[in-house]
């Protein structure tokens, strides 16, 4: 957490965030007096969730290193480049998702961190417990086989949850944004992926009964000073975030650190799955762009195609096996 405090201090000192923020502090209040987090917030980032192994021991890059890293990553993600494959159809398929689709951003976090994970200090998600390892192995087995049923596929492919919407939210391939709405007693987190409104009540009520399990868990909020703290429990075994299970207790913190930035931090506490809790910090930038409707399931031709091809492979195998 010291590292997070350090990040806040650093952001105050950066020239891009002049010291006028203090004078404007009253502007970050809603008409009914709650801290004001409303707006569309963009959480794309080139900073990886976990620190790459080759950067072990280096939590922050220098300005020059960061610029080089950003150039390298952007070039790597540029699928439109032709790399000796000529114009073959295989090359086209490999490049089907090009820069028009990818929206990882072009920059690291402002403090040039090498991982979004800030705790543990090595920037890596802690090891899985034996339960967590068994769960991961069984999921891998389901993904590996040829789609016996849609249930074999991931929740994002099935259009049940967005791949970056969580909870917790995490930068991914595209549509890295969330719109925050507030009314007395409520905060709503609406992710473009997949048009999901997470309605967080602030009235201190308890969580749902333990036997009620939800894809996104059950969220409750409170104010800790100017920070919104959202605690979620009641997750299911059907969703998994980097190895988490249904016992995950997720604590998210949203702090408006200036006009254009909400610092989003979350801690995954799931002793069933991880040997220790871990914390991530992601600065979210204000966007003046509207959210679009991401009608995922309505246009999910991919699932039909994937299932059809899996059955075609079965049929081929049956023929070759018979011969």
């Amino acid at each position: 957490m010291n590292r997070v405090a350090g990040l806040v201090v650093l952001l105050w000192l950066l020239p891009a965030w002049p010291a006028t923020a203090q004078q404007e502090a009253p502007a970050f209040r809603t008409a009914w007096g709650d801290p004001d987090l409303m707006g569309v917030w963009d959480f794309r980032s080139l900073t990886p969730l976990q620190r790459p192994r080759e950067l072990a021991g280096k939590s922050v890059l220098t300005v020059e290193e960061a610029a080089a890293y950003e150039r390298e990553r952007v070039a790597l993600l540029d699928k439109d480049r032709r790399t000796g494959d000529g114009l073959s159809s295989a090359g086209d398929v490999a490049n089907a998702y090009n820069e028009f689709w990818w929206d990882y951003g072009k920059e690291l976090t402002d403090d040039r961190r090498t991982s979004l994970v800030v705790d543990p200090p090595d920037g890596r998600i802690p090891d899985l417990t034996s339960t967590g390892q068994a769960r991961r192995a069984s999921r891998r087995e389901m993904r590996r086989r040829d789609a016996w049923s849609p249930v074999d596929r991931g929740v994002a492919e099935r259009c049940i949850l967005g791949f970056n919407a969580g909870p917790p939210m995490n930068p991914s391939a595209y549509n890295n944004n969330v719109q925050i709405f507030q009314a007395p007693g409520y905060v709503v987190l609406l992710n473009e992926m997949v048009h999901d409104s997470r309605i967080v009540s602030l009235d201190g009520r308890g969580h749902l009964p333990g036997k009620m399990r939800q894809w996104r868990g059950d969220s409750r909020g409170r104010w800790d000073g100017d920070t919104l703290v959202v605690e979620s429990t009641n997750f299911t075994e059907k969703t998994s975030f980097s190895g988490s299970g249904q016992a995950m207790r997720l604590v998210e913190r949203f702090t408006r650190i200036d006009d254009g930035t909400v610092l989003y931090e979350y801690t995954v506490d799931d002793p069933d799955s991880f040997v220790s809790p871990w914390t991530v910090a992601i600065p979210m930038k204000h966007s003046d762009q509207p959210l679009f409707e991401y009608a995922c399931h309505e246009g999910n031709y991919g699932m039909t195609n994937l299932m059809e091809s899996a059955r075609a492979v079965d049929a081929q195998r049956a023929v070759s096996g018979a011969q």
């Binding site: 249930v151 048009h195 399931h297």
Partner: protein, 296 residues
Amino acid sequence: MRNRLKTTTIAGVAAAVLAVAMSFAVQPVEGQAGYQAERTADGRPNLNGIWQAIGTAHHDIEPHAARFGPVVELASHGAIGGGLGIVEGGEIPYRPEARAQQQENLQHWLERDPAAKCYMPGVPRATYQPYPFQLVQTPEYVLLAYEFASASRIVYMDRPDFEAPVDSWMGHNIGRWEGETLVIDVTAQVPDTWLDRSGNHHSNSIHVEERYTALSENHIMYEATITDSEVYTRPWTLRLPLYRRIDDNMQLLEYKCVEFAEELMYGHLRKDPDLTPTYRASGYGSDRQVTLEPPQ
């Protein structure tokens, strides 16, 4: 960006002051029983809350007697209760060929109803699906979050000139206040949604003007005037009350119905001809011997 935000804030405050002034000047405006709603912090009628329709309009918005349902096993649970209808004047003023289309849709309800596949229900159907929705008011937006299919609508309250960037399932929603009434202009809806479970339909020319007016602390009168000259001979209006869900600790729950529709949509492509593992886990189905779940 800072200047822009400041300007917005000042404009918002000015609008709020004006709204408060107007609400005193012209009250009671048009609350049907002369009711004037409590005000939000920015002086608008406060419609925040969790709301739900009661009745059988989700089955059929036109007047209908009780009738058989299509699934024998569901017997009295799956039959369709009668209803007086919510269409002003009784029947939808279809063009003859459009009425024929509705009748054909009705015959093929289970295969064709887009909401059965857990597609977003569109407007106005989302309002009277038998699931609650939550209305969240801010000075710049009204958010309508529906339990069914996690559908949502962002209503822009301060951008009257914002044109639809693209067609969508829940439409492009531009709102305004007319005295006591929240008015939402809904355009750019895809033609793929229905109006109920009886095959009532529209084209992508549909234009819906919705009106939400509080009748009391716990009731809203909902009206939707629908214009679509490709399908109807004239604009027509549907109207029904919405009820506040006053249950203790009421909250929207998840109704992520994709998983409930996967068998209908992809079942013919399953490897195992038997029921899906999900169905088995629920305890339905005759054969629970075979498991597709991975070993634990």
